[in-house]
């Protein structure tokens, strides 16, 4: 049980230190930075991946491109990308961090959006056209609502991944919760490493809950089939 005791000690040491709650390297500030980086990366990724996924899924054009680029992007090592962009762009802005994060989070959203739209029952699509809906009406009024659970799943996967990987932002000297982990390792301050990690996990949990709420509000009960009969 020794490890548990030292774990709790570290937590007490980290969270109990009033120093850690104020200033530019305090927990509130670091949390905010973390939120800023991950949210920015995620929003950019959604803006790129969702329209592209909808377009390809709806028109059936460029399917190969989606699959190949998605798989390629998955194979890219995040850390390698980060170092490369820092070398290319310098470490003075947030972009060397944001770009790899975006590249990382596009594939899950793109693939799930594309699969979601493409996977809609052809009979349903057919009925929609048969009723006299135009192409873009079919997309927005039928395909998107029906594919929404998958689209949101893609976004959630990306969000979790981004939150976890934003830690690497610390490598470039930028802020975020990763600072505690990286700096802690460098100075053998294990309380900081453990405390930072716990914060990152909590952050990811909150994101999960948030997405579950969004899903509940936006997905029709007729699609999620979560419903009591009235």
């Amino acid at each position: 049980m020794n490890w548990l005791i030292s774990f709790l000690d570290w937590l007490r040491e980290f969270f109990g230190d009033p120093e850690n709650w104020t200033g530019s390297d305090g927990i509130p500030m670091r949390l905010l930075e973390h939120l800023e980086f991950s949210a920015l990366a995620l929003v950019l990724a959604v803006l790129i991946a969702v329209p592209l996924g909808l377009l390809v899924g709806h028109t059936g054009r460029g399917e190969l491109l989606v699959v190949v680029s998605a798989n390629l992007a998955r194979a890219l090592p995040t850390l390698g990308l980060l170092v490369m962009f820092v070398l290319l762009l310098g470490a003075s802005s947030i972009w060397p961090v944001i770009i790899p994060l975006v590249l990382l989070s596009v594939p899950p959203i793109l693939v799930n959006t594309y699969e979601g739209v493409k996977g809609v029952d052809p009979e349903l699509r057919d009925a929609a056209y048969g009723m006299g809906l135009r192409g873009e009406q079919v997309l927005w009024r039928v395909l998107v609502p029906v594919a929404l659970p998958l689209i949101l799943l893609g976004c959630r996967l990306s969000a979790i991944q981004v939150v976890a990987t934003t830690t690497v932002a610390a490598y470039t000297g930028l802020g975020g919760l990763g600072r505690y982990v990286i700096d802690g390792f460098a100075t053998k301050d294990y309380a900081s490493v453990v405390g930072g990690s716990v914060l990152i996990v909590l952050f990811a949990l909150v994101v999960q809950v948030l997405f579950a709420l969004v899903q509940r509000v936006t997905v029709s009960p007729g699609v999620s089939r979560r419903l009591k009969v009235r």
Partner: protein, 352 residues
């Protein structure tokens, strides 16, 4: 009226699905397209609302070529019902029904009021309006599909095997409902099925297609059964074409005997092998065998006004007496059609 003027459809892979089809679907009538699988029924139907475009020839809607009409606009004016209903899963039943009115920009209140009216019209409980499609049975979904197609009151209705995915009892119900609706609405309906019985039951006119998309025969059901154009049609109509023809011969002409009914309790002797026992209200109770007066055997009835020879024959076969009981609207016995009477009528039917 819908007119096919030597319409052909060749798919990009070279398949000729429909070959020089010329056909008319008269206004206010049900025209059924029937034929074996792959004969081009669906293709023909979908060329009407331009879900598929014809390769050659022209389809006219009241004289106007559909080719010249913008497809979504055309489709909003044509009801379309498909096999699996194809309801929008994310919308409540009421909004599913109101799909086309919404598209046409109707006031939301009016669209919903119309949808509620239609829900009842197709025989569904108004309480279902707030449900989602997954909460309905297949038969109910199919009714909603019909209601949705009717919502904007289009003059034309296209139906592609709408009842083939439900069980036989529900199918019979849906067919009867369609006929009832049609008697009120008088739509121009084109109905696709591969079931010849359904075709004969529903069609004012039946067009039989053969594989390769060629018209084999188009006629009213009675003519089709009595005068099939060739061996293909004869074979497609099946073995019991003679029996099915009886559906088109009224039972009105059957000679009825009224001297075979006795009130309950009377046990006077008779030389007749069977006597029909009736209650105080003249409703049938059962057949009493002359040899064994204590027993009552089952009976079969048909409606004296309105039923066909097929129903009368069916009623006769249900009873060991071999006689059919003719009843009026209240279920009271009008008379009894004996074997001789049935025999005479059948002989007449066979003669034409």
């Amino acid at each position: 009226m819908i007119t096919f003027d030597s319409v052909s459809k060749r798919y990009p892979d070279g398949t000729v699905a429909v070959d020089a089809l010329s056909l008319e679907a008269p206004t206010g009538e049900i025209t059924v397209l029937v034929g074996p699988s792959g004969c081009g029924k669906t293709t023909s139907l979908r060329m009407i609302n331009r879900m598929i475009d014809a390769s050659e020839g022209e389809i006219l809607l009241d004289g106007v070529p559909v080719r010249g009409i913008d497809p979504p606009t055309l489709r909003r004016g044509i009801g379309y019902v498909i096999q699996q209903a194809g309801l929008f899963p994310h919308r409540r039943i009421i909004d599913n029904i109101a799909t086309v009115p919404y598209l046409l920009g109707w006031d939301r209140k009016k669209a919903r009021a119309t949808a509620m009216e239609l829900l009842e019209r197709v025989g569904l409980d108004p309480a279902l309006a707030q449900r989602y499609p997954f909460q309905l049975s297949g038969g109910q979904q199919q009714r909603v599909g019909v209601a949705r197609a009717l919502a904007a009151d289009p003059p034309v209705l296209l139906m592609d095997e709408p009842f083939s995915a439900v069980d036989p009892i529900v199918r019979t119900n849906l067919q009867d409902e369609l006929l009832r609706l049609q008697s009120e609405l008088n739509k121009t309906i084109v109905f696709v099925t591969h079931d010849i019985d359904e075709a004969i039951k529903l069609g004012d006119r039946v067009a039989v297609l053969r594989v390769g998309g060629r018209l084999a025969q188009v006629a009213d059901p009675k003519t089709l059964l009595s005068e099939p154009a060739d061996d293909f049609v004869r074979e497609f109509l099946g073995q019991d074409r003679g029996i099915r023809r009886l559906r088109f011969i009224s039972a009105d002409g059957l000679r009825l005997r009224t001297d075979l009914t006795v009130p309950e309790g009377s046990d006077g002797g008779t030389s007749e092998p069977w006597l029909l026992v009736v209650d105080a209200d003249d409703r049938p109770l059962g057949w009493r065998p002359g040899a064994e007066p204590g027993r009552l055997e089952p009976f079969g009835t048909y409606a004296h006004r309105g039923d066909t020879m097929r129903a009368a024959l069916d009623a006769a076969l249900l009873s060991p007496s071999g006689c059919a009981v003719a009843v009026d609207e209240q279920g009271k016995v009008v008379g009894v059609a004996t074997r001789q009477a049935l025999d005479e009528a059948l002989t007449e039917a066979a003669d034409g």
